[in-house]
Symmetry: C2
Subunit: 139 residues, 2 copies
């Protein structure tokens, strides 16, 4: 058995948190290192490292909770715009090996999450082959 | 009635796309401005601008599809790490006013999505009050 992550300890009450929401599948609380006031973390209760490995019903519960938390964070902070971000793997910057979605209010251009967004272009032939490979992987 | 967005036109087949997945509630296709090969967009079929406004069953379908697409994009690209990102509002960088989740492979530190992540700290008293406001907004 692997050691408990900090998130499992939070769920089990071994580490304190500012709890926001809990149901059968998910748990939400304030991030202690907020990018902006209201920065919230949503996690599955199961100690699973990556999004593609959560059970289907847990993925559905995460989707429902994101919607609900988005609305509540807007109401509580008065900040309407926000990002939802989830990182899988160390290259993506994941630190705690337990799935977590960030809900991060964006009060202004300088506050909250900043992104480096440098789009390339998708060649027609490449796109066709790539989409076919992803469709095949789905089935 | 507002004008159709490019995403509604894609769903309706008025604009071509490299389609990946479709079910009752959601639609997925390749982003034409990829940050990395395999960059996929997941959208609800309903033309709703912001995540907090999608119906509950659509939010659940988005969660299920994210998990499934994450796995398929890994298999198809051979890149294991990835980001999930969703932007609400112009301050957050949302351009098309129709909810969309990005699934963005992260092949290396320099490719894919880059983030400016500058965490602050959460004071105990502030955290308690903030969590209470968000909990109240949920109910």
């Amino acid at each position: 058995m692997t050691a408990k992550t900090v998130f499992s300890k939070i769920i089990d009450g071994e580490i304190p948190c500012h709890r926001i929401y809990e149901d059968e599948h998910v748990f939400a609380f304030l991030d202690v290192g907020p990018l902006a006031s209201g920065h919230t973390l949503l996690i599955p209760k199961l100690p699973i490292e990556r999004l593609e490995d959560v059970p289907e019903e847990v993925a559905a519960a995460l989707g429902r909770a994101l919607r609900m938390l988005g609305r509540a964070v807007i109401t509580a902070t008065g900040v309407r715009d926000y990002h939802v971000v989830q990182k899988n793997g160390s290259l993506a910057g994941q630190v705690v090996p337990h799935v977590h979605f960030h809900i991060i209010p964006k009060p202004s251009m300088k506050e909250g999450l900043g992104m480096r967004w440098e789009p390339g272009s998708l060649a027609q032939a490449e796109g066709g082959q790539l989409a076919e490979r992803i469709r095949s992987a789905l089935s």
